[in-house]
Symmetry: C2
Subunit: 304 residues, 2 copies
């Protein structure tokens, strides 16, 4: 395939921006609230500029977790929506169903139902991380041309190969339960760029092809743990902390134990670490993830 | 009073170091666990060096909150212990009593009972903050000579004028629910310095007098909030974020609203901000606290 190949793509009449999927990741919570306030003004501006408006659905995904300023109430909503996508979204729910399972049904009805003509065409889910990852888009395929073109406006792409046409905007470092103005503003600019791209695309603009660097996840690494208690016995090494997307070589320091020893990276391949010391991943057994960097073609694209 | 005045002080046979009072402030949790492992070796070293050993009681204050990686289960243990100190510590408890009230009774029995001859002589409570405060000691009086002498080994002192002979070691920035190796190590060094001071003091060393800079809390400032929903409508201004203990002047930027406007400090007196953007204080209605800096005499001290 050539770099100047042209790909016709379906237009994106319905876009959803979701904040508060994790109730303590506050940039998305406050940004969606602000966008809800501004939505009328934005629609007015679109009409004045004669752009074909995208219908932007603004969603606060997990209001109960937001109220408690926790990641989730009963179970991680991220995993619920993934599960619901792959399993049946319509079976009966018991009275004792976890809150997030009930909520994911509501979201499926609001944003979908998946596969139906009424479903939104692009979902952008807003997240924060305690890792020093800057502004990243996490897409679920490396041949989703729409996401790749949006990503070309932005800093960094990770592909996780999970499921179609939705992307997470992940930004850090920010402690969960805290809103930092610089991180909020960067997310606001990121979302504005994404929505601008969608409006231009829907209005018939042609987007040039080119190359994009993406990071494809290879594996996770857990903390060293006590074999009996399963408590962690080390933290991320100071030489690695905050060095997301900086190449990690074999024998580089990985962890520092609580008694002061250095634990080194024993892999044989240099890889790119990300999600280094993400708060929510302690319970998942992930101290950091490692990725390969790839330089891929992003074809010229326009609305079919 | 002269700077060369000499103050005889009672020795400190029993010292307590407490971690996990807030279950998601992880430096103290992992440091107390590590010190428990090392306690036998430390006692052996003290005997070899012919120092009079201080009995160091190591306590994990809120195990249930630690297990859930939350600040508290039912109510803030910090406030429970303060309440118990000022109110009756011995009345009967209902079966429905909040976990932290029950736990504060247990801690009172372990560390006290307050006012009894068996009570510990010094409590050091280990905390983290998301604010960029470095390593701070928070004492509850500015004429507690023992705390002032310990503080002279350290970076910063805040006095809150609350209650006697206990101090908090507060260190940040670190997200709650995360352990950063550099912060852990700084706390470890701080605790070692404090315990070294106690051992030398108990062994008869005389500590020279001098001056100490302390920050005395003047007031708290809340976030701007929506008058109906009480949601915050602004974050700490980027020019103020991470500038703890840097003088804030009238008309300096204080907040940036979610729509981008700057809100300025309207006080008439320049003051020192601290606990800027502490995660746990959103629910307390505190965006930052302001202090006056004072230069106070710390008298020469020795064990009576």
């Amino acid at each position: 395939m050539e770099v100047d190949q042209v790909v016709p793509l379906p237009r994106l009449p319905r876009v959803a921006v979701c904040g508060g999927t994790h109730g303590n990741e506050l940039s998305g919570v406050y940004l969606v609230r602000e966008l809800l306030k501004l939505q009328r003004e934005v629609m007015k501006k679109e009409q004045e500029e004669d752009l074909k408006p995208a219908s932007v659905l603004l969603v606060l995904s997990n209001p109960r977790a937001m109220q408690q300023c926790r990641r989730y109430v009963d179970t991680d909503l991220n995993q619920c929506t993934a599960t619901l996508y792959f399993l049946s979204p319509s079976g009966p729910l018991s009275d004792m169903a976890p809150y997030e399972i009930i909520r994911s049904r509501e979201l499926n009805a609001l944003l979908g139902p998946k596969g139906s003509p009424a479903a939104v065409d692009l979902v952008c889910d807003l997240h924060n991380t305690t890792a020093n990852m800057g502004l990243c888009f996490i897409a679920y395929s490396d041949c989703d041309w729409i996401c790749l073109h949006i990503f070309r406006h932005l800093q960094c792409v990770i592909t996780l190969n999970l499921n179609p046409r939705s992307a997470a905007m992940e930004i850090g470092p920010q402690p969960h339960g805290v809103v930092r103005s610089n991180i909020y503003t960067a997310m606001k600019v990121g979302v504005q760029h994404m929505l601008d791209w969608v409006r231009l695309f829907n209005s018939g603009n042609v987007f040039e092809g080119g190359f994009v660097d993406v990071f494809t996840m290879v594996k996770h690494i857990d903390y060293p743990r006590d074999s009996e208690t399963r408590n962690i016995t080390a933290a991320i090494h100071p030489c690695l902390q905050d060095r997301d997307f900086c190449l990690l070589h074999p024998e580089d320091p990985l962890f520092q134990t609580f008694s002061g020893e250095t634990v080194r990276y024993k892999g044989t391949e240099p890889l790119y670490p990300f999600f280094i010391n993400e708060c929510a991943y302690y319970e998942k057994g992930i101290a950091l993830s490692l990725a390969r960097k790839r330089h891929i073609i992003c074809h010229c694209a326009f609305k079919d």
